[in-house]
Amino acid sequence: MLQYDLVVVGGGPAGMAAALQAKEEGVAKIVILERAESLGGILEQCIHTGFGLHYFGEELSGPEYAGRFIREVQQTDIDVMCDTMVLDISDANVVTAVNKTQGLMQIRATAVVLAMGCRERPRGALSIAGTRPSGIMTAGTAQKYVNIDGYMPGKKVVILGSGDIGLIMARRMTLEGAEVKVVCELMPYSSGLQRNIVQCLEDFNIPLRLSCTVVETHGKERLEGVTIADVDERLQPIPGTEQYIPCDTLMLSVGLIPENELSKGVGVPLDNVTKGPVVDEYRETLHPGIFACGNVLQVHDLVDYVTEESKIAGKGAANYIFGKKKGGAYAATKGVNGVRYIVPQRVNVRGGEKVKLYFRVGQVYRNAKVTVTCNGQTLLSRKRPKLAPGEMENVTLTEEQLAAMNEGDEIVVGIEE
C-alpha cells in the first residue's frame, strides 16, 4: 500500500491550490490524482478570458490561469498521477484509484482533499417532452467539442439556461459561424454574470428570453426544432405562448451539481442546498481528515474564489497532518430572509482567526442590507447596491466577534430590503 500525507482528489484549480498551499505549509508527501489526461480541470476548455482578475490582478483565459498553477506544481515535489480515477475512499482514509500504467492502487492518506468539481445537470432532470434525437447536449459538452476536439456540435442553436457556460457558448458558437437563435431562461432573471450578458449576447444581438423554457423537442434523428413557451410565476408553461423554433442543436446550461459520489461513499454528510459536504472554516468535512474545496463543495462563479477557498482547505489539511488542528467550540451558520446557504456551515469560535462566510441569495435585490446576527445581537450590517443569485457574496467575522460566541450558537446571515 502506498502512503501519502495528503491525497488530493482532482487536479483542477481547487486541487492544485490546495496541494500547493499544503506544500507551502510544509507537508512532505502529497499526491494529486486527476482523472483527465492533464492537470487543469474544466479550465482547459474554458478558453475565454475573465479568470484571475481578483487573484492575479489580470484577465487570463482558463488554460492560462490553470497553466500558472500547473507550472507551480511542476516546480515542487508534489506527485501527480493523471488519467487516474479514484474509485473509493474508505472510512480509514484509504484511497483506491486506478490507471493504465500503475494499475489498481491503494493509498493510505493522513488527510484527503476532495476537489472533484461538479457536473452539469442533464436533460433528463428537466423532463422536456418530445423526441430524443442527437443534437441535445449540455453547454459544457458542446464546449469540449468546439474547444478541445475542434468540431462544430451545431449550426443553428437554441440555448436553454442563461448560466455563464450557456452565455459563453452563445458567443463561441457565433464566432465559429453558427447561428444562435435565442437563449431561454426559466427564471425572471439570468443566473449568469451581467458582463457575459453584455459581451456574449448583446454584442451579437442574440435575444435573451426570461421566464421562458423549452417544452418540446422535435426531430427523429437529428434535432429539427424546439417548442418554447413562456412560464408563469410558478414556472409552469403558459398555454398559447408556444413558439416553434427550427434548430439543429439544443444546448443546456441549467445548473451544476457538485460531484459528490466519492464523498457519499465515505459517508461525508452533505448540505441539502449546496449539495456539497458540510464543512468548518478550514473546509474540513464532518469526517476527520477529509477536506473539500472548489465546486465539489459549492458551485462557484469565479475561479479566483475557488483558489482562495482551496488554499484554506490546503492549510487546514496541513494543520490536521501536523496535529495542529485546534480543539474548539462550534457555532453553526444559518441563512435566513433570502440567504440560501452559507459556507462554511460551522465555525470553530475558538480558532483565534477571522472567518469569511460565503453565501448566495435566492433572488435579485437592489440596495439591500446584509446583516449578521448572533444571539439576537447584530454583528454586522452592510449595504449592497445589488445582490443576485448568480454572484457569490461574502462577509467577514472578526476574531473578537467569534471569541464572544459559544458552542452551539447560531450565526445568522440575512437580507433586509
Binding site: 474509485l87 486506478v98 442533464p122 433528463g124 423526441t131 459544457g140 459538452t141 468540431y151 462544430m152 437529428r222
Partner: protein
C-alpha cells in the same frame, strides 16, 4: 445473399428466435432496419418477467408467458445477463379493487402461477414500507422477475452470431416476393433469398405481412411513457409494484431495475405512427401522478431520463404466432406486447418447433454453444479482481464513464464484440457508459473518440443511433 431463414426484426423475439435456430444446421440471417438490435419496443418497456396471472387462460399470451417464465432463468444464465426474481405486488386501493385481486388470483391459479397470495395492508407494508398510504391490499406474486430487455437481446444476437447466424443491420425490408419454395426479399442492402421468413417486425409486423399479401395483422401502436430514476431511488421498492389492470393494459408500475435504478411507467395511448416515440407533457404528468399513488416518497427530482416506447397491440388482445395463411413458409410473430418479453424464450422455442414442422425437420448444429461469455463488468468486481484485470490488460485501468464506472476496455469489448456497437447508444446499452446521472455529459465525447478510432472513421461520422443522428458537424478549422 442466400439463407435458409430470414428473421425480420432484431428485437428480443427476433434475436432469441435467431439464436434458437442456430441450434440447427441452418443458415440464418437476422435483418434489422436500424443500426443496432433492440431498437424498437425492446429498448423501451417495463423490463418485467410477468408471473402470468394477467393473461386470460387459454390464450397464447397465457401459454407462452407461463413457458417463458420457466425458460427465462436458464436463458439469462447462459447468456450472462442479469435476471432477478424480485416478486410482484398488485395494489388495490378500494373494496372493488380487492375483488379484482381475487379475480386475478383465480386467473393466475388457472394459468398455473405458483405461490399467489392476497396480502392485507399490514402484510403489504411489511414487504414494502414505502407503499402508498391509500393501498389497502395487494396480490403477491413471488415468481415475478426483472431482466434487462436490451441486454438480453444484445446477448442473444451475439450468441447467435457466434453460432453462425448473420446479423444484417441497416437492412430494411421493402418487398417480399415468393420465389419457388422460398422468398426473395428486397432490402436496403440488396436482394436476399430465404427459404423461410420469420416476421418479428414489432409494430411494423402488419406492413411486413402485407408484403406477401397477408392482411390479417392490424397493429395498434400503443405508446407508453416512462421515467427512469437515479440509483438513489432504486431501493425505494424491492418488488415490482402494479396497480389493478384496465382494458388498456397493466397500468403504471414502479419497479427496481436489474441495474439498481427505479423505473416508473408506462402510460397507454394509441397513436397512428409506430415510430413516434416522443414523450408528452401530459403523459409524463400521468406517470408521476399514478406512481406517487403507489409509492410514497418518490422523488421525481431524481429522474435521470424519460422515454417512450410503442407496443404492438392487436384488437384480438392476443399474440399471433404461426404460419401465415397465405404462405406456410412465412411465420408471423405479431402482436407481441406485454407479456412479450416474459414470453420471448418460449416464443423462440415455439417458432423453432413450427419451422421444424413446416420444414420437415432440421439436422442439429453439433457445434452450437448456448453460452455467451460473460462480459467484463468492472463495476461489479472486487478490488482484488480489478487489480488482476488491470494488470492483465491496462485498457481496463482507464475509467471512461464515471457515473457507472465503465472502463475503456469494456467499451472496446462492446465495439469489437460479435455484434458490436456501431454508435454511441449501442455502446451505452452494452456497457452502461452514459447511462448514469450525468447522461453522458463527461464520457460522451470519449465514447465518440473510441468509436471513431475503432471503426476507422472521423469523429463527426459517429452517430447517436445510426441514420442521420450524427453528434457533430464539420471541423471548426
Amino acid at each position: 445473399m442466400k439463407f435458409d431463414v430470414a428473421v425480420i426484426g432484431a428485437g428480443v423475439c427476433g434475436a432469441l428466435i435467431t439464436r434458437e435456430l442456430t441450434k440447427y444446421d441452418l443458415r440464418v440471417a437476422l435483418l434489422e432496419r436500424a443500426n443496432d438490435c433492440a431498437m424498437g419496443t425492446t429498448k423501451a418497456n417495463s423490463a418485467i418477467v410477468h408471473a402470468g396471472f394477467d393473461a386470460l387462460p387459454g390464450t397464447l399470451k397465457a401459454r407462452y408467458n407461463m413457458r417463458g417464465v420457466e425458460l427465462m432463468p436458464a436463458v439469462c444464465a447462459d447468456l450472462h445477463v442479469p435476471y432477478k426474481n424480485n416478486g410482484a405486488l398488485v395494489l388495490a386501493f378500494s373494496e372493488e379493487e380487492i375483488s379484482s385481486l381475487g379475480a386475478l388470483l383465480a386467473r393466475g391459479e388457472q394459468n398455473g402461477v405458483p405461490g399467489l397470495e392476497i396480502l392485507n395492508r399490514d402484510e403489504l407494508v411489511a414487504k414494502e414500507p414505502h407503499i402508498g398510504e391509500t393501498a389497502v391490499a395487494a396480490l403477491y406474486a413471488p415468481t415475478s422477475a426483472i431482466v434487462c430487455p436490451y441486454e438480453l437481446t444484445i446477448a442473444a444476437v451475439e450468441n447467435a452470431v457466434a453460432n453462425g447466424a448473420e446479423f444484417l443491420r441497416n437492412c430494411e425490408v421493402t418487398a417480399i416476393a415468393p420465389d419457388g419454395d422460398g422468398f426473395t426479399l428486397t432490402t436496403s442492402r440488396g436482394l436476399i433469398e430465404a427459404a423461410y421468413v420469420v416476421n418479428a417486425a414489432g409494430v411494423h409486423a402488419g406492413e411486413v405481412a402485407a408484403m406477401i399479401g397477408d392482411d390479417s395483422i392490424t397493429v395498434i401502436n400503443r405508446r407508453g411513457e416512462y421515467y427512469l430514476l437515479d440509483k438513489s431511488q432504486g431501493a425505494l421498492v424491492s418488488h415490482t409494484v402494479f396497480q389493478c389492470p384496465t382494458v388498456m393494459g397493466k397500468g403504471v408500475l414502479v419497479s427496481p431495475t436489474v441495474d439498481g435504478n427505479l423505473i416508473v411507467g408506462p402510460t397507454a395511448d394509441d397513436i397512428p405512427d409506430g415510430d413516434d416515440v416522443a414523450t408528452t407533457a401530459e403523459g409524463l404528468a400521468t406517470v408521476v401522478s399514478k406512481a406517487t399513488k403507489s409509492v410514497a416518497g418518490l422523488n421525481m427530482r431524481e429522474a435521470i431520463t424519460s422515454f417512450a416506447g410503442n407496443r404492438a397491440h392487436l384488437a384480438s388482445d392476443d399474440f399471433i404466432i404461426g404460419p401465415s395463411a397465405v404462405n406456410h413458409h412465412f411465420i408471423n410473430v405479431a402482436g407481441i406486447e406485454s407479456p412479450g418479453l416474459s414470453a420471448s424464450p418460449a416464443i423462440a422455442e415455439g417458432v423453432a418447433a413450427i419451422l421444424q414442422r413446416v420444414g420437415g425437420g432440421f439436422a442439429e448444429n453439433a457445434a452450437f454453444d448456448p453460452v455467451r461469455p460473460e462480459p467484463v463488468r468492472f463495476r461489479n468486481m472486487s478490488t482484488e479482481e480489478r487489480a488482476a484485470l488491470v494488470a492483465k490488460d491496462p485498457a481496463y485501468g482507464r475509467i471512461v464513464c464515471r457515473c457507472e464506472t465503465v472502463t475503456e476496455g469494456e467499451i472496446l469489448d462492446a465495439i469489437r464484440g460479435p455484434a458490436g456497437a456501431r454508435d454511441v447508444d449501442g455502446v451505452k446499452r452494452r456497457t452502461r457508459a452514459g447511462m448514469g446521472r450525468c447522461q453522458g455529459g463527461f464520457c460522451g465525447s470519449k465514447v465518440v473518440e473510441l468509436l471513431a478510432r475503432e471503426l476507422g472513421v472521423e469523429m463527426n461520422e459517429i452517430t447517436k443511433f445510426g441514420g442521420g443522428s450524427n453528434i457533430m458537424f464539420d471541423r471548426t478549422k
